[in-house]
Amino acid sequence: MKSCWQSRSGWAGASLLALALALAVPLPLAAQGWSGVIGVGVIAQDDSGSVDSFRTQSDLDEGLVLEELNLTYAAGEESDKELTLRAWGFGGAEPASHARIDLALDSPWRFDLDYDRYDSFFALGGGDLALRADEWKLERWHGGVAWDGWRKARLSLDLRYHERSGSVVRPLYGLNELYPLRLDLDETMVEAALRFETKDTPVHFVLEQAYATYERANDRRPADSENLAGGDPDLFVGAAENLDETRDVPTTRILADWAGERVEVAASLLYRPSELESTGDVSSTFDLQGGSIGRVSFIDDLTSKADSDALVGNLRLGFHLAPGWTLRLSGDYRDTATDATVVGLTLFRITNPVFGTVDIGGEVDESTVFDVTEDEYRLTLEWQGGGGWSLWGGGSTSSRDVHWRFAGDDPDFDVTRDADGWLAGVGYRHGGVTASAEYQRGSFDSYVFRTDAETVDRLSLRASSQLGGGWSVRLQGRFEDSDNPGDVAALDRSSQSYGGGFAWDSEDGESGFGVDLDLADLTSDVALVLPDGGPGLSTYDLSLLSIALHGRTQVGPARLSGSAVRSEDSGDTWPLESIVARGRVAFDVFTGTELAIFGEYWSYDEERAEVDDFDVLRYGVALAWRLP
């Protein structure tokens, strides 16, 4: 077991300096009218096994972390001016961070600013995805300004900027071998949305017009010149991506809803025409026999265009027919139609000391179509009677029309299918006891994909009760079976998830504990046609038992809290065991100042392989200041 703590003394010094600075911050803030809480922590990590696997699952690291920042500045009782700051996650120890600023003035203007960061790391030693490695971050900015000065309406403008940066290393298939290709990501999205929303009006109405532009300007290069398996004399010496790729996505959205004594109506409509244009070349270059024979390049110089129209509508109607009786009608509609073209040249360029440069290739001129239209209509009748009982039942009918053509010489794929289903349920809610059972069944008449389940039966059961004295208990179960005929794919899927738990909370809320037990069983069999034409079977078997414990209490001046989750999959497909446990002790060192010591344990153990197993212990201290 190694410790990263000792190896980063400089980082530890910086952490202490930051903590010292943070200690000094609350004092002047409190004097200037701020209230709220600031909490920072510093975390060390001891690990054994695959750190990459641990990061792939959690992306946690050692370092600083802003546990909580929640500050409010109020100008005083005579003023509506208020500034609120909320943030968490900054510091590098956690994979996500968030910050938000809200500003309210003595005027109808409201301002807010959001920032989110999410890190993605992926690198596994085993499995089908072991040849790929991701390390990138997604940052999202959002700024909003709203005019709230009208009695009956509100107007707001939202601006968003998303950026994905970092790298992906993945295989590239060339010269009958796999070579490592590195993509440097440069993807952005800019969006502006103007929104008009009524308030305190009988009909609540929203109209929003947004316009978004996505741009991708990634770069690529060989991550290594050697092929992944090693031993091949041909070298991967060059890769380039000179693309100008833009997607323009305007979106119009309308929402309207109204609720009266006897009738409820809600409707929404969305229209989104999208346009893609991608021009430029992508190439990869290999030196044959290390360059002694010559060089070959694969070059795609293409212009791609796609136009897609999406129209989505929803309508909900509710009628209170008589005391206790409600009839609900709903309809959903979605139509997405995409027409696309790709034109240009694909070249195979050979450069040889004797023959010079020779280009072999040809023109590309293809058009594609991909359309999906679907609608669904449902009717439900509900009865809520005396004594807390309720009954409901209903039916649905839907249709789906799927049409695609991906090349001129391909036959069109065109399937229209109708489906129907029904549901029935019973519920009870009285005196702190809640229970419900619902059964659903659905089927259809023709297939889009061979793995579509022709019939689906689903039963959901749920019960919970407040037993008094702070005790509560809950039980749930969900059982689903689906299949299709042997001449399609012989799909046979069965899943059961059931479990329960109980919890206790003290009257003052300072102490409590809970236990949850969940079991999930899933078996799925699908008949395959293997590449050699022979029959095969895809079997997936999951049998997962999860036990979760959590608790908190106060012992003298110390506040103790902890949780643990153990998951064990004993299914035939890929048995494994996972444990995550945490504990924290916190106590007030001064009035309004809390010191906490915490630890976490993460363990992952695959039964049939060890390459991605890990045991990680994280521990640290945190300080929090609560301003009056």
Partner: protein
Amino acid sequence: MTTLRLPESTFTLRAAAMLAALAAVLLALALMVVPAAAQEMGTDEMADSGMADSGMADADDYVPREICAGCHEQGDTFPEGHHGRLMARAGGDLLERSCTICHGPAEKHIEETSKETINRFPKDDACLTCHPSAKGRMSLTTPAHQRFGVACLDCHAPGHPELAHGESKAEPMLAADTAFELCASCHRPQASAARRPFAHREGVDRPFDCTNCHAVHGDNRTGRLLAVGDGGACVACHTEKTGPFVYPHPPRGVNGCTACHEPHGSNNPRLLTRRTVSSLCLECHTNVPSFHDLTQARYRACQTCHVAVHGSNRDRALFDE
């Protein structure tokens, strides 16, 4: 199916029919509601305080908070909580009427101080007094919540900071510390899935917020993607998969991302529904060329070569993005 070709898009007759129905409903609403609203909104004071749809008899018909505070300490502590502060900021005498708004008329209770003469646990109607638009919006996306009898105060804190779960520090108006905990109290299978090795996470004690993807009140905050089926909520973060593509992967366009991924959590990397990639792909692809020798590792991992599994703008076989 008969199809009408319009210059910019393709509409079917079903779409036209639905649009016509939608327009008719909106028109009917406008005709039906406007006269009724004119009768309901009696005073500017009621409109200002958001009581237009409350059904409460008269704005003067309330017991001031100070009277309640004479017996109930909650009358004094409520203004210190988040709900109380919001009411104070809303202006008028909303805060002073807060006890009556939620717990109902209190004249009988003053005469006879028993639990039977006051509404101790407010029903949804009390919340909708000030939040009237929530009622219709809930119908839009959460009819199951309504069927199962989920009430406002099942999820939201009433705003009494002295109660055990009266007000969470992190999310003051929620009846739990996080939105995840709140949803998990009923949606157990999804909560259990979120604890699997591969799941959306935001840090040690921050499970992925359910409302990042689910619009529980019928509206959505991004205003853009939740309502679109081909990728839905996922592409709000995974923007590179937004499309459109010249060569889309049909399952995504038809069944969405969940055709291959378990969004709430999985034992398999990338939240895939199968441990081995070839199993997942071969369940649909029955005409794979015979040179794909499944005894070799690289042919069992289809995405090794077919890297653009979510769609490509250049390559029909999805060899490149």
